[in-house]
Amino acid sequence: MKKLINAPENVVKEALAGMAAAHPDLLTVHYDPDIIVRAGAPKAKVGIISGGGSGHEPMHGGFVGYGMLDAACPGAVFTSPVPDQMLAATQAVNGGKGVLHIVKNYTGDVMNFEMAADLAAAEGIEVASVVTNDDVAVENSTWTAGRRGVGVTVLLEKIVGAAAEAGADLASCKALAEKVNNQGRSMGMALTACTVPHAGKPGFDLPDDEMEVGVGIHGEPGRRRVKVAAASEIAEMLAGPILEDLPFKRGDHVLAFVNGMGGTPLIELYLMYNELNKILTGNGISISRQLIGSYITSLEMAGCSFTLVKMDDELTKLWDAPVHTPALRWGM
């Protein structure tokens, strides 16, 4: 295992210390429980918080700031944070208008957030939750834990953050979050595995000529292993299931997000964007907004994911609204 780290058990705290040193204008880091709280957020708004395992940077801590998250709860690497963190974050950002929890659909995340929400409710804080589940690689069946929450989470945090900044109330924020989640779909693939610092070994062995299709963001294997293919074929493997699923049709405008898994060079992401753009154009769908880069990652995994969200005027306006966080910034 080769990593720019000291001891595996200190990775998260030391990276948090780096964030605190780098972005004092945007955020404050609290330890034990570890939370990242937006600096100088107005109190008279709905608080927006999210959280999940570490190793997905910049998600979520990199999205704390104006127009996006009010707090983030980083767990151990690939491990859901504990309820204490979400409770502390909820308390920190509650200004009386309630707090929205943005949760990715993983058993651990859902349970830990649920426990925190119960504790917060017991303190009289109004909490609403949205669970993202946009990964079409997983069959959406009542017999499974359901689809994973992946790329849509990033886009949703930006869009709902903008609405909260503009004064939307808790119910509207929750409804908006559900709308974005319903209108979004994702799928990812990996060329290489990644290594959890504590484990010291890659999560799976992948021969030099094979790749995993339908991976999540936790270094777990995907739905199937196939021979490495050309970028154009990989783009079809990802875009196909997304387009077959609801809700995309000819004439739609989408926000297209081509995401790197952490170890993928940008030149490859632009090349994949070119492939995605060709596929969508061929399907009569046009890209009205785009995001290209490594925003929801799996440590140093090489690979990419596509996320499409069907856009309308409301979502476009919120997407375009000013945002100022360590990882996403425009309009200010």
């Binding site: 429980p33 395992g53 767990g75 151990a76 690497v77 690939f78 491990t79 859901s80 944070p81 504990v82 309820p83 204490d84 993983y106 058993t107 651990g108 349970m111 830990n112 649920e114 426990m115 690689a137 997983v138 069959e139 017999w143 499974t144 834990a145 994973r148 959890v196 504590h198 484990a199 070994k201 999560g203 799976f204 999540g216 936790h218 270094g219 777990e220 294997p221 739905r223 199937r224």
Partner: protein, 211 residues
């Protein structure tokens, strides 16, 4: 024989030691069908639990188990944190103010724990999770006690069933937890949570045997 508060402290200490020993093994199991953190998660949790034990050394069984539960909830994270945390919390509630547990009281505590996991995890048996080890173990313990076995014999039968349950997760298709994302590819691997559950069960037996 009875299970005393002292036994429970010893049991928790032994679980912590076993988890630390088996940390990499558990993580390796989780690496095959999950995200390679189960051993690390539990080791972090039980290491924290150890630092709390002295504060409840002279308390009743319920207080000890509740402290274990809240500490696990606050330090483990992931799926196993809320699940094991809830299990110990519920077992603690079932044993409030008790300094000694009869076989039936122990059974009631374990049933409460199992019930807590199932409620929190919305899971049933056969989904390739920790309850596929805990469930059969509790069943066997109940049956043995009902048949008039002494506690040690009953525990032995319970742990044996728990081990069988753990092994039976190998051919199962996962439909809960992270392993469910793998679909058919989850088949052929032993569930990490079932394995840690068996480690805990055998630690309980070991303490009872030493008693």
């Amino acid at each position: 024989m009875q299970i005393t508060a002292e036994h429970v402290i010893k049991f928790i200490e032994l679980v912590a030691a076993r988890i630390k020993e088996q940390r990499d093994y558990l993580t390796r199991l989780d690496s095959a069908i999950g995200d390679a953190d189960h051993g690390v998660n539990l080791d972090r949790g039980f290491t924290a639990v150890l630092t709390k034990l002295s504060s409840v050394a002279d308390k009743d069984v319920g207080a000890i188990l509740k402290t274990v539960g809240t500490t696990l909830v606050s330090t483990v994270g992931g799926a196993s944190g809320p699940l094991y945390g809830t299990a110990f919390l519920r077992a603690g509630m079932a044993t409030a103010n008790r300094f000694e547990l009869s076989g039936d009281e122990l059974l009631a505590a374990l049933e409460a724990a199992l019930e807590g996991i199932q409620t929190r995890g919305k899971s049933t048996r056969g989904e390739k999770t920790m309850i596929d080890a805990i469930g059969p173990g509790v069943d066997a313990l109940r049956a043995a006690l009902a048949a008039g076995d002494d506690l040690l014999t009953a525990l032995q039968k319970g742990v044996a069933a728990c081990e069988e349950g753990m092994k039976a997760t190998v051919p199962m298709l996962a439909t809960k937890g992270r392993a469910s994302y793998l679909g058919e590819r989850s088949i052929g691997h032993q569930d990490p949570g079932a394995t840690s559950a068996y480690l805990m069960a055998s630690a309980l037996l070991e303490v009872a045997q030493g008693a």
